[in-house]
Subunit: 99 residues, 2 copies
């Protein structure tokens, strides 16, 4: 296995609506079609198995760190963050690591 993985976990604000969360997921799922550097991309809401979890996860795999940076700074990605993430996020934690 080789590559570079980005993980972000989010806790949404209590007043985040189902509509806002659905719109965010729909727009994030457009990214693999826009950013060819995304080798694998899987987002999802917490399954509710364990108490105390965050609400939402993004895992994105790339060939290397430079490919991740293209994704991180891509204007379509930044636009989704500004329009759909920032308005509903309470907390965010992230890690990037070599695969």
């Amino acid at each position: 296995m080789s590559g570079f993985r980005h993980i972000a976990l989010f806790q949404w604000r209590e007043d985040a609506t189902a509509e806002q969360k659905r719109t965010l997921e729909d727009r994030l799922n457009e990214l693999p079609g826009v950013i060819p550097e995304l080798r694998a991309y899987a987002i999802g809401g917490d399954a509710g198995v364990n108490d105390g979890n965050f609400d939402f996860a993004v895992v994105a795999d790339f060939a290397d760190r430079d490919a991740y940076l293209v994704y991180r700074d891509h204007p379509t990605h930044r636009k989704i963050i500004d329009e759909c993430v920032t308005p509903i996020v309470a907390e965010r934690r992230a890690v990037q690591y070599a695969l």
Copy 2:
């Protein structure tokens, strides 16, 4: 794609030593040989690309939620948590989601 993914992100205590972190990684990397339910398993320390990140990530993929529960509750896994994670963890955030 189908399956069930577990993600845990960790921030270590400031007094966690390099030796403690290395021992933890070595022991976690034994888990795929012990828990056949682990379909994919990738751990790693943060690459240092972005400020404010957590220190360490675990991503584990399973066929389904039941397979995840076998891993979560497996005695070898719990022993590593007790002996190697609990002594050095400051914060932990997790999400499980359907792939």
